[in-house]
């Protein structure tokens, strides 16, 4: 599954926020970017889109930052990727029979992938992560 750097950064940033306690003060850009070595100036753009999609909220001012807009349990990877790449624009059905048959298979493949991404929430990933650290 191909993933642009932008999309990957977005997922990592969301996961970074997801693993923080919701009671803590909002995470600063530097704190989000640090662990994954995301260029800070670039992350700014990404967070802006995530905010536009309603996935995160920002707090301005001297002790501001970002936090998830809803519980990690209710945000899927699909939500994040759609926020970054935009929703997949529907392709018009081609008239050529060969192209139609091909498109049908592509849609099957897309659906299989979509299902996996929709079932994976930020919380399930963070939980999986915590489980791994447990055995160390």
């Amino acid at each position: 599954m191909k993933l642009s750097a932008k999309a990957e950064y977005a997922c990592l940033a969301m996961l970074e926020m997801a693993r923080r306690n919701p009671e803590e003060p909002p995470a600063r850009i530097r704190e989000i970017a640090g662990p994954s070595h995301i260029p800070e100036r670039y992350l700014v753009q990404i967070l802006l889109r995530l905010k536009g999609a309603g996935l995160v909220q920002s707090v301005r001012g001297a002790s501001g930052g970002y936090h998830l807009a809803r519980p990690a349990q209710r945000i899927s990877l699909l939500d994040v990727l759609n926020a970054i790449d935009g929703p997949p624009e529907p392709m018009p059905d081609p008239t050529e029979p060969l192209a139609r048959a091909l498109l049908k298979v592509r849609r099957q493949a897309s659906e299989a992938e979509r299902k996996i991404l929709a079932e994976t929430t930020l919380e399930s990933l963070v939980a999986d992560l915590a489980a791994r650290e447990w055995v160390i």
Copy 2:
């Protein structure tokens, strides 16, 4: 499922050859390109890669052309896409725990997609096509 123009042309060209009778003389580039409106000069490059991958054979000379290297039943869409894009290069496991968790999901999604493409053969697509024309 994102598909480059090159990859789509490759699939359409393979399907065009698959639906011809194996007894017929090889298909000329013009005949392959025609129905799908593929730029001929571009198709040349694509066929060359398909040949390099062992999926088609070429016949040179005045009445030459291209035909499948093995029965359509034994060529999957995955074979075609791998021939064009190259096999997916294995990504090194990242050290950051977050990135690891993310990669795991990506691999699941890739595998789901891969399975669909590997199960779909040129013959099954052509058969599906023939079935549709039957009811017309």
